[in-house]
């Protein structure tokens, strides 16, 4: 899946507005472009940060920090890469900084709202159970494998975007993903 499909999420006057176009608009002084980018990615970033171990009370603050740092550091973003991947990279750094400030707070809190709703009670119970087991399993993965799994599965990034986000290569991202899934399978079997 190419970035053009992923990034053309908002439409203005029948034309798709891509991330690079919004970034260019913001650089040109259009404040609403920043607002659009926040609307585009804030919720997904929040879920990623929460699944990566952020306390639910801190998620919104971390999302805000991520966007602030992203816009302030836009000179560091090469327009040829994925803006979304770059955003996740900043989010990861913001979270690491917060962990350092909090001196290694407990990783991955499990709360009731974390588990997806299901239509039938039996399915809901099964989903609850699998969700809990998965969160417990993620806690036991090396950090890089956990991040790659979340970016690939929860966020739906492709390997090249994950590579850009983690400063790695698509091949290495794929290897980390396969290791993560195999390890989770062992833990959940």
């Amino acid at each position: 899946m190419g970035p053009s499909c992923q990034e053309a999420l908002l439409w203005v006057g029948g034309q798709p507005v891509t991330d690079p176009e919004l970034v260019a608009a913001w650089r040109g002084g259009d404040e609403s472009a920043a607002t659009q980018l926040v609307h585009r990615y804030a919720a997904a970033l929040g879920r990623y940060l929460a699944a990566s171990g952020a306390a639910s009370a801190e998620v919104e603050d971390l999302v805000q920090d991520t966007f602030f740092k992203a816009f302030r550091g836009l000179h560091g973003w090469r327009g040829d890469g994925s803006f979304r991947g770059w955003l996740y990279r900043i989010a990861g750094n913001v979270l690491k900084d917060r962990f350092r400030q909090n001196k290694g707070r407990v990783f991955l809190e499990i709360e009731e709202h974390d588990i997806v709703d299901a239509a039938d009670p039996a399915g809901e119970l099964a989903a609850d159970e699998m969700g809990r087991q998965l969160q417990a399993g993620l806690r036991r993965l090396p950090r890089l494998q956990r991040e790659v799994f979340l970016l690939r599965v929860q966020q739906g990034l492709d390997y090249s975007e994950i590579a850009a986000s983690l400063g790695s290569t698509p091949g290495a991202a794929r290897v980390h993903y396969h290791h993560a899934v195999r390890r989770l399978k062992e833990l959940l079997a």
Binding site: A42, A43, E60, V63, F71, L74, G156, K185
Partner: protein, 174 residues
């Protein structure tokens, strides 16, 4: 023949509805317990933290406010590693100072003495003095290290018999 690794690569895309299982893949998923478990993990992974609440309007407002109050982002000047530049300048200045303060060795590898350094520094002033003034300057500097060393010994043939005998006694310890 369906490859389980290829199935694993495609699972997130199918789960995000960006791709669909082919019929053989769907049949494999029903038959392969390994892939079926992976598929459950991926579907649970997609739902992780689905209930996380982020009020995007509030975030957007806060971000734009902060950006407005923070002033212009750091430009090229802000990104120059000033500490490195300052250290480099100090090092360069120290090198220049050493070149002037520590005299370089001559062709024979000897470093000039302090007196000659002083003399070199005084050269422009000395040029304006007459002979008598130069003499008084030389006297004020005192004897040079070369003057303090013993002179060249006279040739043995120039010594008288008594002087030669005295010398032999002193060398032989008699």
């Amino acid at each position: 023949m369906i490859d389980c690794e290829a199935m694993r690569d495609r699972m997130p895309d199918v789960a995000h509805a960006r791709a669909r299982w082919t019929d053989p893949e769907a049949s494999h998923l029903d038959a392969c317990a390994d892939c079926a478990l992976e598929w459950r993990i991926v579907r649970a992974g997609i739902a992780l933290e689905a209930g996380t609440v982020v009020v995007t309007d509030r975030v957007a407002r806060s971000v734009t406010d902060r950006l407005r109050n923070a002033g212009p982002p750091p430009g090229v000047v802000g990104r120059i590693p000033w500490r490195g530049v300052v250290i480099g300048l100090i090092a360069a200045a120290a090198c220049v100072a050493l070149m002037f303060w520590v005299p370089l060795p001559d062709r024979a590898g000897r470093r000039p003495t302090g007196d000659s350094t002083i003399a070199a520094a005084m050269l422009p002033e000395l040029q304006g003095l007459d002979e008598s003034q130069l003499r008084s300057v030389l006297q004020s500097l005192g004897p040079s290290p070369a003057d303090a060393t013993p002179g060249v010994l006279p040739h043995l043939g120039d010594l008288t018999d008594s002087e030669l005998e005295q010398l032999l006694r002193s060398e032989g310890g008699q």
